[in-house]
Symmetry: C2
Subunit: 347 residues, 2 copies
């Protein structure tokens, strides 16, 4: 990049000047119109690259600046955790008189396609991305395209990110079980699905290790299982843990839906919760309250709501094409209900 | 329309011929380009009207024929009933390698705007509309625009519609309670929200009347309450019913989420279900199984899945711009679990 252009957002006029063509020609190249000679096209493209010119920034001010819609990219959106985050987001979007367009992601391919294509398409004014962390290339592309993006339950240094301290949450849950005298604690973690929730699962394991280490207990790897983030996953893992001769007296599950599976496994084995088995879940979805499940509460509705508020602030503040990424840490909290009781130590 | 054009889909050439202009001029009128004399514009528009020519059918084959995306318009999508219909739809969409764009509706205004704007915008190849019945104007506009639309849990004679026989479902539920000796049966119905689910609520009431009438029982209007379609609504209505000196021995709730509220109300009053109160819900959402709730099962996943399959068939079959609307009736079925027991008659 030549010195005179450094630090300044390049315009279509800069591209035209450097390429030695008119702005109409630049526009035709950008819009893939016919009638541009290959050599000219190459010269324009070289100028675009040299200047790091982003036609989308211009396109944005040329076409309708405001679609009135917020896009949300979310994996497996029908799962309870995502539904509750989405409830908070929908409330904030509706409150602001905006519309929601939801892009569901089931595969890595889909995620990558949305990350690549949505910023340029300008169907929405901004994107809320839930539980999916863009890589450096995608994050830079969002910035480059001038598309406001806020991450929820995910992190990238270039983008405003809302994260929950899940290490702390898992630590508190396991510490609580230890304080209730439990020594053999089973842990049902979530599997990583296309790396979608890798950190979320990993953080819970770190929290478990911290609580166990702090109490001077031995980590027993055979009591740690990974299972799909659903009822069936939790149930199967619990059946495996509870079939052991030295079965755990307590189970910590990485999500409430898995904990509900643990309740079903206990019921099928005629074990009573909490008399025979203490249980702590994670998330505090609506059903946890109905089932009186003790759990680690993530502020899900708040995450969705705050995410939208931050996004709207980004959208409002991008007139100059710049916004500073923020990192917001939210704290989980232990909700004690009726699935944890004291057990005699050294059982 | 002149006889020679009857029964044939008009083309841009027909419009040009009748208006006495070239197809370029027709195109300019359609695209609101400048440089067309007012008199010519009027002649072209008169020809378009006479032929009932729909430029979108043409635009559709001119622009990218296939976006690869299916749009779903759904009210309050985070409610369990919709989530389970959406799960079936997502599975079918993913299976076909398509993408889902979800438009959430919270108000009548939003619904009307989506109905009006989405067909023309061509962001999606077809629309699945859940639990929202378009009026005649909107339904005609969908047809006119050549946008394939399938309704699920809603009906319009111009559009392929999947409906569940909720009169039958409610009839079976109440008949079952009567067969178990119940005579004082409370009914918690759902409120109509901007007419979104008017028929759904009305149909359940008709089914109740039929069962009561058939058994020769007296309809007791004070045992019928309407409440919001959520836990809190069900709980408040149940508290009201159960506070009566002559409290009902059984409750039928219009949705499982309301029935869960009834369970919570009973728990707070130290009434045991089913010993003190029999209960039947409606829908058979996932939590009904966990809570062992007897309920009327709607084939929700099947509705979503079949809706998408019918929609894809419409999309594939619209090369000639025509598709015949189908009315598909699905049957609900009574799922007996553990919340209904026999009570002595004449209690």
């Amino acid at each position: 990049m030549s010195d005179q252009n450094r630090g300044k957002i390049p315009t279509i006029h800069d591209v035209a000047r450097i390429a030695g063509v008119g702005i109409g020609t630049v526009s035709r190249v950008i819009n893939h119109s016919t009638g541009v000679k290959p050599a000219t096209r190459q010269r324009v493209q070289a100028a675009i690259e040299e200047l790091r010119y982003s036609p989308n920034l211009i396109a944005r001010s040329m076409i309708s600046r405001n679609t009135g819609a917020i896009g949300i990219i979310v994996p497996f959106f029908t799962r309870p955790f995502f539904i509750e985050v989405l409830q908070g987001a929908v409330a904030a979007i509706t409150h602001m008189g905006r519309e929601l367009v939801l892009y569901n992601v089931e595969t890595n391919d889909q995620r990558d396609r949305y990350f690549r294509d949505l910023p340029g398409q300008r169907k929405v004014d901004g994107l809320l991305v839930i539980s999916l962390s863009p890589d450096d290339v995608a994050a830079s592309a969002f910035r480059q395209a001038g598309m406001p993006v806020v991450l929820v339950d995910a992190y990238h240094p270039l983008l405003t990110s809302l994260v929950v301290d899940n290490i702390e949450g898992a630590y508190q849950a396991v510490k609580c079980l230890i304080a209730h005298g439990h020594r053999r604690i089973g842990f049902i973690n979530g599997v990583t699905e296309g790396n979608f929730r890798f950190n979320q699962a990993n953080d819970r394991l770190i929290g478990l290790h911290r609580a166990i280490g702090e109490a001077g207990l031995l980590f027993e790897p055979e009591l740690v299982l990974t299972a799909p983030w659903d009822r069936q996953g939790g149930k199967q893992a619990a059946l495996q843990l509870l079939a052991r001769a030295d079965r755990p007296t307590a189970i910590f599950a990485a999500s409430d839906v898995q904990a509900i599976g643990v309740l079903e496994a206990a019921r099928s084995l005629h074990l009573s919760v909490p008399a025979d088995l203490s249980l702590i879940g994670y998330d505090d979805i609506e059903m946890a309250e109905v089932l009186e499940l003790s759990t680690v509460q993530q502020p899900m509705k708040r995450m969705g709501e705050l995410g939208v508020q931050k996004l709207l602030a980004c959208i409002g503040g991008t007139a100059d094409g710049e916004f500073l990424p923020e990192l917001i840490r939210l704290q989980p909290s232990l909700m004690m209900r009726h699935t944890v009781i004291h057990t005699a130590p050294n059982v």
